[in-house]
């Protein structure tokens, strides 16, 4: 059960309780269907449930951006455990310790960027549900899940560059940023790859978009940068 409910959640619960009370009253007392009862039922079957739908949906959508929600599928446990580990030095964990990301660190990094980013991310989430409950990911144990479940497409550097825009002078002082500017822009090299900033999660390995081999030969030089 959720530990803290926001204001909209309380509004939804209040509407739900009030509407339920009105409907139970009608079912028990069975009053004549006159104008007064019609108006009461319009409120109890129409207005209050409509408000409950809006508030519950808004709360639900907000809930889907929280790490607790992502971790509700057991195959995400290693990722959530790493994110919440205060000693982990992975990219994901270091970002999760940043208050800007906080409890929403999964969503902040994995949501698509742009005007349609939010709905597209939610649609992709429905596909995850399908894979989990219908295809059978819910029956995988953790080692199987880590071996089988990967990002559907290479991680988009645009998501990193929502914050790390590359406009600051410090960014341009890193020679690899300058020399690989075109590759970074076209996602041919991933920011979160061996030799650059390291994999986002300790057990994840990119199939595509790794840094050039000459960078990978000196691991840790860039991977530990904060």
């Amino acid at each position: 059960v959720k530990s803290s409910i926001d204001l909209l959640g309380y509004v939804a619960l209040a509407c739900i309780l009030l509407a339920a009370a009105m409907q139970i009253y009608f079912l028990v007392r069975d009053p004549p269907f006159n104008l007064r009862v019609k108006l009461r039922l319009l409120f109890g079957l129409g207005a209050l449930p409509a408000l409950a739908v809006v508030a519950s949906t808004a709360t639900g959508m907000e809930t889907t951006t929280e790490r607790q929600f992502c971790g509700s599928c057991h195959v995400m446990d290693p990722y959530v455990d790493d994110s919440t580990d205060p000693h982990s030095q992975s990219l994901a964990a270091r970002h999760a310790r940043n208050p800007f990301f906080g409890d929403r660190n999964c969503y902040t990094c994995h949501a698509d960027y742009g005007m349609l980013g939010y709905p597209m991310t939610k649609l992709n989430g429905l596909r995850h549900m399908y894979e989990y409950y219908i295809v059978g990911w819910n029956r995988l144990d953790i080692p199987e899940a880590l071996a089988k479940i990967h990002l559907r497409k290479p991680y988009d550097n645009t998501n990193c560059r929502q914050c790390h825009t590359g406009t600051l002078e410090d960014w341009g002082r890193v020679s690899e940023h300058v020399s690989l500017a075109a590759e970074l822009r076209d996602n041919r090299v991933s920011c979160a790859s061996a030799g650059c900033h390291g994999y986002a999660h300790p057990f994840s390995q990119n199939k595509q978009g790794d840094a050039p081999e000459e960078l990978q030969r000196k691991p840790g030089t860039k991977g530990q940068r904060r």
Partner: protein, 98 residues
Amino acid sequence: MSRVLALAQRWPIRALIRTACYLSLASLAVLALPILVPRALPVVLGMTFGQLLAALAFGCYLLAVIADAARTAEKERVPEPEPEPAPIGLREASDGGD
């Protein structure tokens, strides 16, 4: 239109309202799930079946209102028949008859 109204007069108003209440109670329970249990399945159920059940419940309520309005309109259109006068012998008896 008149056929629809004639059909609407036969809809069982009380059964529709009771069905609406039961459907709505079910939808409210499902809508409360995403708030209380923020896991994947309850959230998705709340945002799909919860809304669907709430819409169906409101639809049943609207049908009941339409049926009631159709019956009222029919009653106003066809005036109720006057009560038949009592037989003459009985009328005289009730008048006192002395």
